[in-house]
């Protein structure tokens, strides 16, 4: 079981407040992703849950017990670090067995658990190697192996994929999601990459400057962002945020429209302008256009759409999917 509740948790270093006050409920078995730009306090929050940082205020309750002041090892959580933090002088076996050894378990039990973990993670052939002899993805799996043998109440991941190349990142994303379905253990995952958040999470927590901007399922956040920050952060390419006269026409300070919710045409439409840079991805084409009286607008269209730089173009936003934000940045 692994439900985690944060009650008015706050953190400040000296006089600078990093996290003002956060309340959050994480249910058993959920895959929660903390996402936000760098420096928004998401890693600090994770480290506070892990017990590696002291709380300045508030309480952390794990499975109904107040763990705010407990040592990291007593909280029953495991963590996968950004640098993997493997022990370089131990073999893969030694690394995975270390938490069990520290727990004082019997050799035969340790052996079985390590072999099981290695089997799940496809590491059976590498048990005698040292971390220095492994590739990035394998090291990552060893770090996860070290985390799962303890059978923790929850896993904490601190930007675990940021050191991998793009292809491997895609694979590991699938593997971690798969692992979550197999183990059904609570997972808290920190990332600055909204793609990771969207693809893996049951629940996304968007953080900005230590505050929670919005909590919800990936599609909730995509469909109805509560404010300009979430609107701009979730979705790729990012939402077009239009200010000025065009926004005022819709009785809003900021008008948001996603690139995929704009119809593009060479002959007619609501907005007219010129084509700027075009990015062909094969399946999709991103066209950055310069619209008269509005400025830059990005459009996503199918892969076969052909344009030239400087060509006149017409755009029509989908009226049903416009997002209107007030002067305070909140949705209207």
């Amino acid at each position: 079981m692994g439900s985690i509740t944060l009650e008015k948790v706050s953190k400040s270093f000296g006089t600078t407040s990093v996290i003002p006050e956060i309340d959050l409920e994480i249910h058993d078995g959920e895959f929660v992703v903390f996402v936000g730009p760098s420096g928004c306090g998401k890693s600090t929050l994770l480290r506070m849950i892990a017990g590696l940082e002291d709380l300045s205020g508030g309480r952390i309750i794990i499975d109904g017990k107040d763990m705010s002041k407990e040592a990291p090892a007593k909280r029953g959580l495991s963590m996968v670090f950004q640098s993997y933090a493997l022990y370089p002088h131990m073999t893969v076996y030694g690394n995975i067995a270390f938490p069990l050894k520290m727990d004082g378990q019997e050799k035969s039990v340790i052996d079985k658990k390590v072999k099981d973990a290695a089997h799940i993670l496809n590491l059976t052939n590498y048990l005698e190697r040292r971390p220095g002899q492994l590739s990035g993805g394998q090291r990552q799996r060893v770090a996860i192996g070290r985390a799962i043998v303890r059978q923790p109440k929850a896993f904490l991941f601190d930007e675990p994929l940021s050191n991998l190349d793009a292809a491997l990142r895609g694979n590991m994303r699938l593997e971690i999601s798969d692992l979550h379905h197999q183990l059904k253990t609570t997972m808290i995952y920190v990332t600055h990459d909204q793609v990771e958040a969207m693809t893996m999470a049951d629940k996304i927590v968007v953080l900005n400057a230590g505050r929670i901007e919005q909590v919800g399922s990936p599609m909730e956040l995509y469909r109805s962002p509560k404010n300009v920050f979430v609107a701009g952060f979730i979705g790729s390419p990012r939402m077009n945020l239009i200010e000025g006269a065009e926004a005022a026409k819709h009785k809003a300070t900021t008008l948001g429209v996603r690139p995929e919710h704009i119809r593009i045409s060479t002959t007619e439409g609501a907005w007219s302008g010129k084509v700027g840079v075009t990015e062909h991805l094969g399946s999709d084409t991103f066209i950055h256009t310069q619209i008269d009286g509005i400025g830059q607008v990005t459009v996503r269209t199918d892969g076969d759409f052909d344009t030239k730089h400087g060509q006149p173009i017409f755009l029509t936003p989908d009226a049903a999917r416009l997002h209107r934000f007030g002067a305070d940045g909140q949705v209207i």
Binding site: A50, G51, L52, A71, P72, A73, L77, S78, M79, F81, Q82, S83, A85, L86, Y87, P88, H89, M90, F98, P99, M102, D103, R146, R150
Partner: protein, 290 residues
Amino acid sequence: MATLQTRATARIMMSPAVILLFLWMIVPLVMTLYFSFLRYNLLMPGTEENIGFLNYQYFLTDPAFFTALANTLILVGGTLLITVIGGILLALVLDQPFFGQGIVRLLVIAPFFVMPTVSALVWKNMLMHPVNGLFAWIARSFGLQPVDWFAQVPLFSIILIVAWQWLPFATLILLTALQSLDGEQKEAAEMDGAGAISRFIYLVLPHLSRAITVVILIQTIFLLSVFAEILVTTNGGPGIQTTNITYLIYMQALLQFDVGGASAGGIVAVVLANIVAFFLIRLIGKNLER
């Protein structure tokens, strides 16, 4: 050094330095070898002639030789033991953040800047002197009989002095190694349930192993030839209780004016140092390969 041409150029450019260094090493060595086969005593000038291995025979059968050999090894081993263990402990303390860290680090390094002769004199006259020394004063203020260090435990006293000089070196090397330990590894071990002692045994000590090897190797080289501390404090005495190989050779050459015998001793010392180095490398050198 990518191409053949650059490699050749590099060799030519390096050669003056290499040749000079080579001569610097080979000329004294060959001369020492040559002298070691001569009857060459400064008190009997003009009688130099080749006497084969007689110098070696005299040196190796000298009863003082084996005592000196044992003293050398005890001196090296004892100093290594104190400096490595003390160095690890000091490095662990200095790695903690505390007020006045910079000044304390400077103070710890200071003994290394004191010349061996000076530090030996300070220890002899101000600390270990049985009448005026600080240790004697401390002993007396507790109502104890002061220890006459250089008469009662002469070799241990020398080891203490030499260890005091080399402790900063060990501390410095081990401290830098300690600072390069990845913080996330420590945190990972903490989350894995390892206490402070387990973290030290399973994480810190393996991480330090390479630095410890470096400390042992470098210190051994210098400790085999400790001389000034002995000359200033005990003159190899009482008897030959603190005579090491270096000091024995000095006595041979400059107290008995036997250049030939001393040269033979010098060659024996070179061979011994190589034997020690061989075993050291075999024993701990594999740490350096990783």
